[in-house]
């Protein structure tokens, strides 16, 4: 309705004093940008998977080739198996912590936050490297320790297995479930639990019958996101699944790019992944919509539940998860970065700064990659935030007709795993006429496409919380809409915009799967370089690089938390 009024006033003004209607221009520019960023690459998925690579004619042959080979089917099956185990493990890590932090009087809840934020900050591939060094079957530190203490020959843990892989992924993605579960728990008024108590249920039964069922829809939704995250993940499987000879969908995808590249098969292989993603996202949406929120009345104050001796159990669990997710892998990386040879015991002979000297001053490839990563992350975050803000404003204030088309295009990449998106960009822009392969620009636009939904959704909720009367006041006092945007909307929302920027910056600095297939030796980013160094067994140098990356990320996040409050990284959208 407000769209009609807006357009109406616009038209009337135009009729009195003919002026250029710049809202149309904005729409055209935004729409064109989205076509370049989203529509053109994603349409490749459909086009190429149904085309004959030589003639370009319509064919189902690519799909026949995919579904006809047992090896490909096994990869799908492994992926689903892996994702299911990962979800179960992540639930085990996250749910008790979320409950402890949100609902109970467990001591040291700050420590658990530290564990969650730490796990969130550590990029998946670095966590994987840390755990390879800890639990590699031969030289892994935990296994060395186990042999030394017990005298047994065999290893205690073997990270190169399906369980090892699922564990390493789960210990990295569990914050997702934690975030959803805590925000669901936070919404439950404590009167719900008190009502159970006064009607005769003890703390255990209250938790089981009231608290958990109320949080269930949100938790299930988060489980689906973890499932999706796992099937789309490339870095950790590349580091662990390949040595373990456990073929999953994403590692299978890379084999299509071994010479000669078979893009059409890669595309056909991706289609089921995209379909699964869409189906799960729809289910997740429906579940959250049907979610049970407090039915009525005022929220009532929230008091932590007194859980007696159980709090020590929960504290122990939280400390254990923090140890596994943050302390051990980060500690391992730091130790390794100062070692001459990581598998040797720590001694003065083994202590060195050479790794840092090498990556910071000597190795051109590493310096290039770090510099390139910073460039990509800075421009990606800036473009993403600006575009997300403009798109959200245009859509929410209904400045243009058919705004929902913009929304759809902006959000479409959500349904596409990063590695599939990379293939789409490869197909669309790597070759002629643009021949962007090997340039950082290609990586930047792929990152922007991938993370635009995050920026768009956060900006939308910010703008939605803003009363339009603020802008109307600017206009009735003689300011233009642009002035309202620059002088009122943006300044009022500067904190959430900064939050978006930091978040996208951090994600860009570590994104791996979207950079796959788009990197050559000229435009490598750190995440890609990590894989190469790991293949070469250069763990010491790799660890040093990882520590530098972690230090930069932590710094940015700490600055963000100072400016924006502790939870800015941990919001639901």
């Amino acid at each position: 309705m407000s769209a009609e009024t807006d357009i109406d006033t616009g038209r009337r003004a135009g009729w009195r004093a003919p002026r250029f209607d710049w809202t149309i221009a904005i729409f055209v520019v935004l729409a064109l940008l989205l076509v370049v960023l989203v529509a053109s690459p994603l349409s490749r998925l459909v086009i190429e998977s149904f085309s004959d690579p030589k003639t370009g004619a319509f064919t189902l042959q690519n799909f026949a080739a995919i579904f006809g080979r047992a090896r490909y089917m096994t990869a799908y099956w492994h992926t689903i198996q892996l994702a299911a185990v990962t979800v179960a493990l992540a639930l085990f890590f996250a749910l008790p912590m979320a409950f402890a932090v949100s609902r109970t009087d467990t001591p040291l809840r700050g420590l658990m936050y530290f564990g969650v934020i730490g796990a969130f900050i550590i990029p998946p591939f670095l966590g994987a490297i840390g755990w390879i060094l800890l639990a590699g079957p031969n030289a892994g530190w935990l296994n060395q320790l186990w042999r030394a203490v017990t005298g047994f020959e065999g290893p205690l843990l073997n990270v190169f297995s399906m369980w090892g892989l699922a564990f390493v992924i789960a210990i990295n993605v569990f914050p997702l479930i934690f975030i959803f579960a805590t925000s669901a728990f936070d919404l439950i008024s404590s009167e719900m639990e008190e009502a159970a108590a006064i009607h005769g249920a003890g703390p255990l039964r209250t938790t089981w019958l009231i608290t958990l069922p109320l949080a269930l829809p949100a938790v299930l939704g988060a489980c689906m996101l973890v499932f999706l995250e796992t099937i789309a993940l490339y870095g950790t499987p590349a580091l662990i699944a390949i040595p373990a000879r456990y073929n999953v969908a994403t590692t299978q995808l890379t084999t299509f790019f071994e010479y000669p590249a078979k893009v059409e098969l890669a595309m056909a292989f991706s289609v089921p992944m995209v379909l699964i993603t869409i189906v799960l996202l729809v289910i997740q949406r429906l579940m959250l919509r049907g979610g049970t929120v407090a039915v009525s009345g005022k929220g009532g104050s929230r008091q932590p539940m007194k859980i007696g001796g159980w709090k020590w159990v929960l504290l122990g669990h939280g400390a254990f998860v923090t140890l596994l997710a943050v302390v051990l892998p980060a500690g391992m990386l730091i130790t390794t970065s100062f070692s001459v040879a990581w598998a040797k015991p720590p001694s003065f002979d083994n202590l060195t700064l050479a790794n840092y000297v090498e990556i910071l001053f000597e190795q051109q490839t590493v310096r290039d990659a770090m510099w390139n990563t910073i460039k990509v992350a800075l421009s990606g975050a800036t473009i993403c935030t600006a575009m997300g803000f403009l798109l959200a404003y245009t859509v929410i204030r209904k400045l243009v007709p058919y705004a929902q088309i913009l929304t759809f295009l902006t959000l479409a990449p959500v349904a596409v795993p990063g590695i599939v998106l990379a293939i789409c960009f490869y197909a669309a822009y790597a070759g002629p006429p643009l021949s962007l392969y090997g340039s950082s620009l290609l990586i930047v636009i792929a990152f922007v496409t991938r993370f635009l939904p995050i920026s768009f959704l956060s900006c939308s909720s910010g703008i939605r919380s803003l009363n339009p009367e603020l802008e109307e006041a600017v206009r009735i006092h003689g300011g233009s809409r642009l002035r309202a945007l620059t002088d009122v909307v943006a300044p009022v929302l500067k904190k959430s915009l900064l939050g978006v920027w930091i978040l996208v910056f951090v994600i860009c600095s570590r994104e791996l799967s979207t950079a796959m297939f788009l990197s050559s030796y000229q435009n490598r980013v750190i995440s890609i370089l990590t894989l190469d160094l790991s293949e070469q067994g250069e763990y010491e140098m790799l660890a040093a690089m990882g520590v530098v990356l972690l230090a930069i990320t932590t710094l940015v996040v700490v600055v963000g938390m100072r400016l924006l409050g502790r939870d800015f990284m941990l919001r639901r959208n």
Partner: protein, 366 residues
Amino acid sequence: MTVLDLKGLTKSYGSFKAVDNISLRLEDGEFLSLLGPSGCGKTTTLRMIAGFITPTEGTIHLDGEEISSPRGVVPPERRHMSMIFQSYAIWPNMTVAQNVGFGLRMKRLPKDRIARQVDETLRVVQLGHLAERYPAELSGGQQQRVALARAVALQPKVMLLDEPLSNLDANLREEMRGEIKRMHDEFGITTVYVTHDQSEAMAISDRIAVISAGRIEQLDTPYRLYSRPTTRFAAEFIGRTNLVDGRRNGARLEFDGFSAPAPAGTGGADGPVLVSIRPQTLRLVPRTDDIAPDIPGARVLPGSVADRTFLGERWDYGLSLATGGAGLRAAGPPEENFETGSAVWIAIPERAIVLVEDAPLMEAAE
């Protein structure tokens, strides 16, 4: 037989006393309201009775057994109480029947017995046809009935209500108030009711404890509370009134511009007193000359109408006295219309002058 006994109950948060030495005793089946403005400590008191809060001092006994003291509390789930919360706290993940049967399930009663009791309770609150619905499908009033049914289904020893009507609109509020009263009369459950609405408390309670700043100002039946308030706070909080400062001089009370005999049966030393005169006890008569009309048993004072508001059921007049001093407020019937500024005689019946704070009897005089 249920007897709930609060002795010297106190809850301090640092140096702030949210509840300050409250003692009261509820007899079996009694309906008692804790009435006071927000932040007065009434909800804290209720939550101490429920066992959610441990008192700093004092004890609570239920049937002679200590259930709360600074040393520890019996947890809420073992107090055999029930409660209706401000937000109702109906569990949205359970059907109406499951909500109502929850407490019975916790008692591990046999299934068929639970079903029977739930049916019966739902019939009493006229929700039988909604037993299998989920709370989100119900209206506010129906949810309120579910909360009520859930609280009575247990046949608790004590039922606690925390401002249960504050989220309902005016019509529904009256209906639910009647429903709560009916439930109480039907099952005879000892009940503690917290509210800030004095008319609600008056309509429903056997006794009312007026609470201010954590202390009980007055504990009395609604009628006595209205007609014989004993503190300035109680007089102001229960209904509208004129509080007039004066002096006791022997058997007479003297005010600015008039005096009256002290009410029978009271007798303090000479000194300052405070009286309450309800606005609706005042009568207004048009004043055309200096001859005061003779109204038996009333003091008649010259004055004028300073302001007036028409409230539908009555006129609300602000009066100033010709002799000076603080003004009075009066309520007049709609058909008696005095213009602003018009001269009136104000008749104050002597019986309407209620002594709130008498001059203290001097210890030495006795």
